[in-house]
Symmetry: C3
Amino acid sequence: MEEINFWISMIATIAFAVTGVLAIADRGVDLFGVLVLGVITAIGGGTIRDMILEAPVFWSENQIYVWMALGASVLTFLTESFFTQPQIYRWMLYIDGFGAALFAIQGANKAWAMDFGLPVAPVILGVITAIGGGLIRDILAGRKTLIMSHELYAIPVTLGCCAYVLILNFFPQYALEGSIFCMLGIFGLRAAAIHWDLRVPKMFITKTR
Amino acid sequence: MEEINFWISMIATIAFAVTGVLAIADRGVDLFGVLVLGVITAIGGGTIRDMILEAPVFWSENQIYVWMALGASVLTFLTESFFTQPQIYRWMLYIDGFGAALFAIQGANKAWAMDFGLPVAPVILGVITAIGGGLIRDILAGRKTLIMSHELYAIPVTLGCCAYVLILNFFPQYALEGSIFCMLGIFGLRAAAIHWDLRVPKMFITKTR
Amino acid sequence: MEEINFWISMIATIAFAVTGVLAIADRGVDLFGVLVLGVITAIGGGTIRDMILEAPVFWSENQIYVWMALGASVLTFLTESFFTQPQIYRWMLYIDGFGAALFAIQGANKAWAMDFGLPVAPVILGVITAIGGGLIRDILAGRKTLIMSHELYAIPVTLGCCAYVLILNFFPQYALEGSIFCMLGIFGLRAAAIHWDLRVPKMFITKTR
């Protein structure tokens, strides 16, 4: 189980770094910027989470995450034309969605296991783990952030974290099944949003003036 | 006394969430963005303060702050046209100014009570408590930040925190009276700025080129 | 030795505050903004580093850094025309490059001494110490960040931190000489970039679309 979790984390880290680099590649970023922004996309969210949790940041204890993110960022820089093929890029979006699902539930789980600010904080920290890195990347790159994009990305993540916290609270005996269920739920919603190009409906958006 | 403090904090949190949401509502933000930005405006400053203080973030110990901010954000989303009425909006600005005064003195007080980096850090952390949440909101929403706006908002806050630290240092026996005095001072200056639409005078602004 | 280190830190702090203020002065910033952005440029990077290290932020233990940054920021505001003279500004750039070199090696050193996430974290934290403050300043001022600028600034810093970590790892007996060597190496590369106006070559930059 631990081992499955580890391998999924590796895949998610790589996917985050790749999609993170692709998101900003069209702005003329140098190799150093690519490394910084790829790594931040991959490990930034978990870093903020751990700083709020007053826990040692996860990559100080296991540096493989940084290495994977660095490697994936360089590879994406070198082979950008491969990853921007519509078919491949679409695959990366799905893997990225899966990564977000995994990171969210992991983040919520870590806060829950530390008995930190139950029941609200695990949801907040799960969401931060999943989207925090992308937010920092967009801010540093001068890009519109996810918060302003009307994409169905953070909403599935938030719903999944809420469901997971409810399960942990009311059916703690199903914690493992619940984590898998919520992860798949987040991924399912996100995959549907990618497949059908769904966005937040207009009635949930404030009017621009 | 504790109880008064608590109720004032609640009002300030709600006011911050409402004005935080109104500040970005004209940009076409979806309901999720409204929740995130409303909550960040209300609790972001105190969160940075506590991270710098290496103290548990305040909303992990008392989640009512998060709930109030969430509720106020949803309400503002649903009833935006109510809050954008000039008269009501003006009231919210005053309450927001009062919230900033309260949060600033609370923040300075917390650092002082923890004997953290006296005498400079209480001033810095008081200011961060009052304006930090709004800064993160503006950055995430792609808005010009308060720092660049020439508004008389951060300056009263800073002066009040300085005065409070001087009182704590030289007249510790008047800590309580001093805190009320400085809070009212900040609020008075901010209210004057709102009422007469005062801004930072030109001679204190660098020339644009 | 300690004393030399202290004086160099003072000079670096002042240089960071001055160049930090000059970088945003042409945007019409008020005196309060100048103070905030000057101080953040000077102490922001070390603050993030210490938050990640879970160490008390350095300026809470020795406030002289804040005072120096405040003083230098006010002075720059008052005498902007002095510092924007081409010859003087060039000098400030060199001193700023020296400051970056010093802060980077100090940052890497602090992480190494705390045995924090070796060997990757000292490099990351050295880079954050040197460039983090400038990044926050640019974000708050709505300016394009260093990451997107193709300047040869962060790259020398990163190479120097890598070299320093290799020396600490393989030749710990030469830690002191190594620190001086790496600092001079960073400064040399940065000075060359200033002198010959070198930038990141096109082949290392992604294509804009």
